[in-house]
Symmetry: C2
Subunit: 340 residues, 2 copies
Amino acid sequence: MINDKKRPIRVVQYGLGPIGQGSARLILEKAKTGKLELVGAIDIDPDKAGKTVGSLVNASSDVVISSNANKVLDDTKPDVVVHTTSSFIPKVEEQLTQCILVGASIVSSTEELPYPFDRYPKIAERLHTLAKENRVTVLGTGVNPGYAMDVLALVATGVCTDVRSVTVQRRVDAGLRRQPLQNKVGAGITVEEFRRRQAEGGFGHIGLIESLRLVMHGLGWPIKKFSELLEPVISEVEVETPYLTVRPGRVAGIKHTAEAYLNDHLAVSLDLRMYVGAQQPEDRVVVDGDPPINLVIEGGIFGDTATVAALVNAIPHVLNASPGLRTVADLPVPRCFLPS
Amino acid sequence: MINDKKRPIRVVQYGLGPIGQGSARLILEKAKTGKLELVGAIDIDPDKAGKTVGSLVNASSDVVISSNANKVLDDTKPDVVVHTTSSFIPKVEEQLTQCILVGASIVSSTEELPYPFDRYPKIAERLHTLAKENRVTVLGTGVNPGYAMDVLALVATGVCTDVRSVTVQRRVDAGLRRQPLQNKVGAGITVEEFRRRQAEGGFGHIGLIESLRLVMHGLGWPIKKFSELLEPVISEVEVETPYLTVRPGRVAGIKHTAEAYLNDHLAVSLDLRMYVGAQQPEDRVVVDGDPPINLVIEGGIFGDTATVAALVNAIPHVLNASPGLRTVADLPVPRCFLPS
């Protein structure tokens, strides 16, 4: 049962980039209920260290941001750390270990963490063992991976007697999002430039394969064969955003797909399109099952707010889960934590 | 983790009405994987006792149906009982107690069981205590209550930083369903007849208030004030189904709504319409939140198949849950169990 703690849940925010700032702001907002408390904040950026969280996120908080993670964690011994520093597991193992060792459960936005068991079996095993020893739960989540292309897909199959395949389509109009995202999907550049940057590994949504693995795992299907493809979406018309213009023939954004097979049968297909000018943005799950299910989030899920929400909403779930490295498929159905 | 048992999960089917027969058939189908086994079947109907499950559900099974529940449970000591006998908790407490006492976890279609803590606090406490003592989990679920108007509503809020209200609309075209359901919603009768039967308590969807309580509970909102209304839907045109004809001005079915308030603010609103001739059947969740969410299952969820699926899909969840009387809001996200 959530919300049955007598004292507030003590939270440290680890990482204060855009998502971390949103998380800190939301924690401070929800702290007004008296059920949650921001007790520490960590960021290595020298421009942020020494400032108060309140001054950084334009809210009321005199918690001072520190670049000394160990000191913050030791001094505060939080119940939960909301961790938002990097997309990649090798870069965060040491940070997660620090948190676990002071007895803190973790909700992390690290895109490789929602299903790390195949890509990083050794790190996953180390984190799982350490978390169990220290009686804490570690979870990777967010809107994608963590919800739109995995949890929703599993939920859609929950009333099916059988499932033959699951298709997830996420259409995001990058033109409605912040400028870094428009740049990240290559909006406005030439196809040649796209291919050049793609070859350098500079493009693509991180975590798509993690969603694929989560869905396969959740359905009990072994993942033996899978493929991934990243292509530019070419604009046929001129599109203008507040930040840039995409001329016809130029790149509007990305189409990133991943597919998993069971005995040469396409079992799970994920199709993510993020581009400026996308018509009818939506999140759609199509289950070829009994009964068939066609689940849609009309207009799509607005990612910037939703990622922050998914992290903070998981706080009670990690506190109540059995210790170890867990996935969103292991935890109770997500829902808003402490709505006003 | 599901499916990690070395031996098959041993299941008893308790109740072999239409839903119980569907459940038995599905268990037998999934038993082909070797991960599940139907080891017993109980029904008090003298026409069924003594027959094999196979002959009743047109499948391959020589499990003999018995009216002696205690003997079946004692002889088989199942891991899980799928229980489908009655909608009402007072009628099933003794049956559930029998199951718990032989160490079986339970998935039940009893419509009052998904959230029994307010309506039957003493029975709920007895079942919870007994389940914990016997290290088993007891769950009430189904498509509605248990999924369409509660789990989906909670899931829809999972990426919201805040929620002001949740509205759930379920539209079912009763004309596509089996005859008993068409009769149950009063299709074809006069408004006077509807009101007469309504006064006798003969109408309405059982479990709507349970869904309302589940959503409020899941969001951490205390349920202090709620209302419920059952009205006939009057047909404006003539509608024909394979079983009956509804003339203009006659009852086409029901509109059953329930609302819960927080300080005079409408917090959760459930609106269920089941009638013949319903256009555009769908399940819709509208979250007034940040971000707003508009989640739709296009065409709706076909209830007869889905109820059976929801029950069988919960089997691994009750086996892995912490002991006690639990709700679908406490358990991991639903998903299809053992898809082919």
